[in-house]
């Protein structure tokens, strides 16, 4: 579904990705793990068109999307759930969800998807008229996930979804991401919490300084001595 070959990109003089090659198959949950600065978030930003590719190709469903505008990539069916400030704090929960469907014009479909997401996240339904900034961290992350789904994406990019969340919430959030994948949406997940991500995923890539150094099924990577030593604490 998504094929990245020899991707090079960066910010100014810094080259963040130095020839990255990964593949995401339809229906898979693929994880990118690695240390800070390995280029995980940059990979997602490059796929979304937020960082221009200097060389290499990014093919999505057979079409090269390197150099395409972010909006057009979104319209192709790739939703990005960025890290950090995840919601529009002063907008209500329902407005935040509506933002996820910004490029869609089918009112009936949007309304149906909204109800479906409220069904899956009852907490959001209870708080639909509340400002998103007043939600807890976990609720805000659920809202961000719900917003990404409102665009009916074929592929969702999750950037550090566990960042700043309480451990029990993190567990639930990973379960939600797994459920999204099992429901038929392909997922590319970036996580610092390497163990959880490797446990969750179908396939994983280990990134070091802008390159893919290891690839394999999640459990294979967990068993790898290098991964154990460098990322899982021995």
């Amino acid at each position: 579904m998504l094929e990245i070959r020899d991707l090079v990109c960066g910010y100014g003089h810094v080259t963040a990705l130095k020839g990255l090659t990964i593949e995401v198959r339809e229906g898979q949950l693929v994880a990118l793990v690695g240390a800070n600065g390995a280029g995980k978030s940059t990979t997602l930003r490059a796929i979304s068109g937020l960082v221009p590719a200097r060389s290499g190709t990014i093919r999505f469903r057979g079409r090269d999307i390197a150099g395409v505008e972010p909006r057009a990539i979104l319209a192709e069916g790739i939703a990005h759930c960025p890290e950090g400030r995840r919601v529009f704090p002063q907008m209500s929960v329902s407005e935040n969800l509506a933002m996820g469907a910004y490029l869609r014009r089918d009112r009936a479909g949007i309304a149906a998807d909204l109800e479906r997401i409220y069904g899956e996240f009852p907490r959001l339904a209870e708080r639909r008229d509340q400002a998103a900034g007043t939600l807890s961290g976990g609720e805000q992350q659920m809202l961000a996930i719900g917003r990404a789904l409102m665009g009916r994406p074929k592929l969702v990019l999750f950037d550090e979804p566990s960042l700043g969340l309480a451990p029990n919430i993190v567990e639930r959030m990973f379960a939600v991401i797994r459920a999204i994948c099992d429901a038929g949406t392909t997922v590319l997940l970036v996580e610092q919490n390497a163990f959880a991500a490797l446990e969750l995923c179908d396939y994983a890539y280990l990134l070091e300084t802008g390159r893919t150094v290891l690839a394999g099924r999640g459990h294979a990577l967990i068993a790898d001595p290098h991964v154990r030593e460098a990322y899982l604490g021995g």
Binding site: P70, R85, F88, P89, Q90, M91, E95, L103, G151
Partner: protein
Amino acid sequence: MSRLLPLALLAALVALPLALGPSPYLLNALIVTGILTIGALSLNLLLGFTGQLSLGHIAFFGIGAYVSALTSLGFEVDLGFGYRIVHEPWPAAVGFGLATLAAGACGWLIGRLSFRVRGAYFVIVTISFAEVVRLVALNWVELTQGPLALTGIPAITLGLPGIGTWTLRTKLQNYYLVLAVGTLCWLVVARLVGSRFGRAMRGLKENESLALSVGINATRTLTVAAVISAAMAGAAGSLYAHYLRIIDPDVFAFTTTVSMVIMVVAGGKGTLMGPVVGGLIFGLLPVALRPVMAPEAQWIVYGLVLIVILFVMPRGIVPGLADLVRRRPARPAPVLEPSPVVQR
């Protein structure tokens, strides 16, 4: 309640002249305040809902005033190379429409020029633009009469086919015209803010990178907001020209932009009622103070009122009062409690 409040205020404003009786002084103050409040409404669309500060907002107002005046007065200018433009006077109502369009077009130009970079650049471009337009109005004497002012601007004539026409010469008529246009502008802003386009504007202000990631076209959204805002300011300028019947380059005074910013910020930027409340308070404060103190003291009080408002209610009067109302049932009278920090 949030629906009833604007309606109650509108009813009060409709009834106000009846209560005041025939006082031309007070009516004049209300009309000028109303026109400035429309300017504040338009500024709030940009400053409050997109977060972009237009410090040259008066340019759109002044362009509206001049376009409307020149359209209804007619003019004859020599462009050089033997080209002359002769314009015969058109009805003032047409001038009003053209003023709105011309100001909107300028808003588009400024938006296209500055919204690729935004923020401080937009502030600088708008200030410069206002200054350039003021200098043109001052020095292109053949067109604008420069400091000699455009005089004898006709009053607006409204007509309904088959019923009759009215030329709005009296203050009372102008008061209701300003109130009608102001209400219309308020409704436009209210509808816009709740729409898909409004969510795009607010999204850009609250979290730009997230807004881009959901597919919002930042440059286009901000430019459209600037066009609508500028067009409203132009409409206000046109009302001003046809009410005063005389305008000179002083309509481009920077202090008027500052007044509008004060009205928006003190009333509550990013709220629908903020500019109206701020506009009425700061528009009418000088009128209230004039009988009781010397002019120098008036401005000191004006400044003090502003400082106190922003100290007690940093987000403005409307959000401040809303917080008080919301908190009352839980805890009684938290009078001097610091207002909540704006969430970022």
